[in-house]
């Protein structure tokens, strides 16, 4: 076997946790968008690794990974559209400033 499953799982866990922390810490919306991409990629790696090692005979994992890429793209376009709108209203894209709706 070309290697064991564990390093892949570890890598994807690291990627996901980095992404999540990035979303919570960084205030810039676009950076947050990048972090979401990071999380999605982590999940794809995890999916591919599991499909290779613990599931034999079906490539559904890899098909799903491809779909994830497509979905991420769609999501990013909508997100950028909205961020563009916020920039027009708030003149800055800082997540801390978006507190008009609260309570």
């Amino acid at each position: 076997m070309a290697g064991s499953l564990f390093p892949y799982l570890l890598l994807s866990l690291i990627l996901i946790s980095l992404g999540l922390i990035g979303i919570l810490v960084r205030r810039n919306l676009i950076i947050m968008l990048i972090c979401i991409e990071l999380v999605l990629n982590g999940v794809s790696i995890n999916l591919l690794a599991l499909n290779k090692f613990s599931v034999n005979g079906s490539a559904m994992g890899q098909i799903l990974a491809i779909f994830i890429v497509a979905l991420a793209a769609a999501e990013t376009t909508i997100a950028l559209g909205l961020i563009f709108l916020i920039f027009r209203h708030y003149k800055e894209i800082d997540a801390e400033k978006l507190t008009e709706l609260k309570g």
Partner: protein
């Protein structure tokens, strides 16, 4: 074969038509009329295909009485929304009404496919389709600051939720190999269930909790309900809830063997959701925000029904969610009429409504009391079935907590109703109410009272749908 998936195809074509209409100068009224016409055709087609049965696309797409009836409800919900978005709507929507309808129809298409999807990839794709279109709908009011803010919040929380779902699914996938839910059910019969699988399952559920606004991922609801335009909020609050419940019904049927005796965690989540929704709703001064928290609380009650993993629990949840659609839509309709009249959705905007629009305020009162679970109305009967299925599994404390929660909910629903009945209106003259709204109010009053007192028709329909689902 075409007949079976005719509703989906038609909805897709309608969506494309509205997309193209954006380029031509078509007036808002004609678009509104065509939209209404198309949704009526949609309803008729679904009615036509209601009793069909079949499995398509290599077993990933199931058409049965359950999925067709869910599609019927979604189509009726869409019709209500379009009929509400009449000419007095905000002018940003009025100017690009075509795109508005395009997103509405595509989101409806996503939800329709969601109710029939039997395989994870189709399921996830239709879920994302409906979510993404709703992100756009929320941010549709370009000129309003809060709409953009609501949109971005809705998107980010949605994105995180779907990412976690994918991660959860990857764990589940490693156990079964095949993405179709049927394989999972058979596979899980004889395999040893360990902790990792359950953790994977909880992560898997996050996107659906996000859809239904159940506690871990429900914080978006107040801001989005308040930020979006009232029509879009109505759409999110009613139709997407029905779709969410449908997909969870589908999932829990197939995941039942894995999850047979592990429902304690889900019960805890439902109690937390109920209590969170009711407690915070008491504070709210703004109508739409109050309704957001109330919809979180209602989602808690629905989760109780879902989590019971037995036929009666599921049929009562389906009954409750249908009734919830009608009740919630009535309240949103009244808020929409008042907002168009007064321009504000503050609690005080309803002041003296009973003098100015007696019919509207009566339907508002009945809908609110029914949401609060007050007996002669359908809300109570729905709760009664859910909790009697819950108590059949011996959860007495859960039922007591739920009933006490509904007592708190009666308090803030009465806070809204008292504005209409106890105070004198500022202006004296009567509020003009268009005929369709008047017809709908009569329909909702009759529905709420009759279905509350004699629920057999709705209940039999729900049970038949669940029989097909489990069947």
């Amino acid at each position: 074969m075409i007949i079976y998936i005719l509703p989906e195809i038609l909805t897709f074509l309608m969506a494309v038509f509205f997309l193209l209409s954006a380029f031509k100068k078509i007036s808002m009224e004609t678009l509104h009329k065509t939209g209404m016409f198309f949704s009526i055709i949609n309803i008729l087609i679904i009615l036509f295909t209601i009793n069909l049965n079949g499995l398509f696309f290599y077993g990933t797409y199931k058409i049965d009485f359950f999925s067709q009836s869910i599609k019927f409800i979604l189509a009726v919900g869409l019709f209500f929304i379009i009929f509400m978005a009449d000419k007095r709507i905000e002018n940003t929507i009025k100017k690009n009404y075509g795109e508005f309808l395009f997103f509405l129809f595509s989101s409806n298409l996503g939800m329709m496919m969601l109710s029939s999807a039997l395989e994870f990839i189709t399921l996830f794709l239709s879920l994302e389709l409906s979510s993404y279109t709703m992100f756009v709908l929320v941010g549709f009011l370009k000129n309003k600051k809060i709409s953009a803010e609501a949109g971005i919040k809705y998107l980010f929380i949605g994105a995180v939720a779907s990412a976690l779902t994918l991660y959860g699914y990857s764990i589940i996938f490693s156990y079964f190999g095949d993405t179709s839910l049927q394989a999972m059910r058979i596979g899980s019969m004889f395999m040893m269930k360990d902790v990792i699988l359950y953790i994977g399952f909880i992560f898997f559920l996050t996107a659906f909790f996000f859809k239904l606004a159940i506690l871990p991922f429900s914080f978006w609801a107040p801001d989005v309900y308040q930020g979006a335009s009232t029509n879009v909020t109505a759409y999110i609050a009613t139709v997407s809830k029905v779709a969410g419940v449908a997909v969870l019904l589908r999932i829990f049927v197939y995941f039942f063997p894995i999850f047979a005796d592990q429902e304690k965690i889900l019960i805890l989540i439902s109690i937390l959701t109920m209590t969170f929704g009711n407690l915070v709703a008491v504070q709210q001064k703004e109508l739409k925000r109050l309704l957001a928290y109330s919809s979180i609380a209602q989602a808690g009650y629905m989760l109780v029904g879902l989590v019971m993993f037995n036929k009666s629990g599921m049929s009562s949840t389906l009954f409750y969610v249908t009734a919830y659609l009608v009740m919630n839509f009535t309240v949103f309709l009244v808020i929409d009429q008042v907002e168009k009249e007064k321009g504000s959705t503050e609690l005080t905007a309803l002041k003296g409504l009973s003098q100015r629009a007696p019919l509207l305020s009566l339907s508002l009162l009945l809908a609110l009391l029914s949401l609060g679970g007050v007996p002669p109305f359908v809300g109570f009967t729905g709760k009664w079935f859910i909790f009697s299925s819950a108590i059949n599994k011996g959860y007495l404390t859960l039922v007591l907590i739920a009933f006490l929660n509904s007592v708190i909910s009666v308090y803030y629903y009465l806070l809204v109703a008292r504005q209409a009945y106890l105070f004198m209106p500022d202006e004296k003259e009567k509020m003009k109410v268009t005929v369709p709204v008047r017809v709908y109010s009569y329909f909702s009053i009759v529905f709420i009272i009759v279905m509350g007192f004699y629920p057999a028709p709705l209940l039999n329909w729900a049970e038949k749908a669940i029989r097909y689902l489990v069947g």
